[in-house]
């Protein structure tokens, strides 16, 4: 067994996870916040106005990172749901519980920023086209994952139901991605792809990529911090939890 596999196996132990991830959380928060400040200040103050959209395009430095991240968080939850259903790994359920509120907030911010950007650019805040509607469905899916967990008393049943909903809801992710190609929408096609050269000039692209990467790092820190709280909550009666909390600084 190599060191990566061994570390992965050890991270599924609640005690090991709780004790070892504290430093990671601090590092991820620090790097994420520093990166977001850098990218946002760069985008707001040091990038020229865009030729057609003027200054309103600066909303993209918030909108694109959160919209991208929201979809990735949902995919992560769906994969965790599958892992829980197949192997019954409790950390997968804890990940789902921690990540759903973060995904919900990211989707809400993507929707709000899209609406506000649309006002000066499209002349309307909302249209019921395929992209905007499928992102609204994503918001309701995140909300559903949170509500379903709250509504079911028994933890195992809640985890099972949330996993099933997460997997079924994953069908929405390719719909969001390809909605701009499959349907006639107001929303423009993807400007950044892995296979083709970016349609965005480097002067805009670099701060945008800075914010995308930083938003991922920050969200990883938030999810990890939330997972630590869930781990401790579920093991509050165990001796390791009481020893650990007793020995921690107030």
């Amino acid at each position: 067994m190599n060191i990566l596999t061994a570390t992965f196996h050890r991270l599924t132990s609640p005690e090991f996870f709780y004790s070892k991830t504290r430093v990671w959380v601090f590092c991820l928060y620090f790097l994420g916040i520093a990166g977001l400040l850098t990218g946002s200040i760069w985008g707001l103050f040091f990038v020229p106005p865009e030729k057609f959209q003027g200054d309103s395009f600066r909303i993209m430095f918030i909108h694109v990172p959160v919209a991208h991240l929201a979809q990735m968080i949902y995919m992560g939850i769906a994969v965790a749901g599958a892992i829980y259903l197949i192997w019954r790994i409790k950390m997968a359920d804890i990940f789902m519980a921690a990540a759903a509120p973060v995904g919900c907030i990211m989707t809400a911010l993507a929707l709000i920023s899209g609406i506000v950007w649309g006002m000066p650019t499209w002349g309307t805040g909302w249209v019921w086209d395929a992209r905007t509607t499928s992102v609204l469905v994503l918001f309701f899916l995140f909300f559903g994952l949170i509500a379903l967990r709250q509504a079911i008393g028994r933890r195992e049943r809640a985890a099972f139901a949330v996993s099933v909903l997460a997997i079924i809801g994953a069908i929405n992710i390719p719909i969001i991605k390809y909605s701009v190609e499959w349907f006639a929408t107001l929303h423009q096609p993807a400007s950044i792809t892995l296979t083709e050269q970016s349609a965005i000039a480097p002067v805009f692209l670099i701060p945008l990529l800075t914010n995308i990467a930083s938003m991922y790092v920050f969200a990883a820190g938030v999810v990890l911090a939330s997972m630590r709280a869930h781990v401790l909550e579920r093991h509050a009666q165990t001796s390791w939890a009481q020893d650990t909390v007793g020995g921690e600084e107030p």
């Binding site: 200054d55 600066r58 709280a229 401790l232 009481q242």
Partner: protein, 49 residues
């Protein structure tokens, strides 16, 4: 003033950065409040017989 006004787009841009800051701050703060509540609960459990 130009920086605030942004040719009439300032209200849209600054409002989104404000809302974004508030929502990200909420997302970043909540896990710490949750953890603090749980730690207090664990400490109380430890004290009770």
């Amino acid at each position: 003033m130009d920086l605030l006004y942004m040719d009439g787009h300032g209200i849209y841009v600054w409002s989104i950065y404000a809302v974004g800051f508030v929502l990200l701050a909420l997302a970043g703060t909540y896990p710490w409040l949750h953890l603090r509540r749980v730690r207090r609960q664990v400490k109380n459990d430890e004290k009770s017989p």
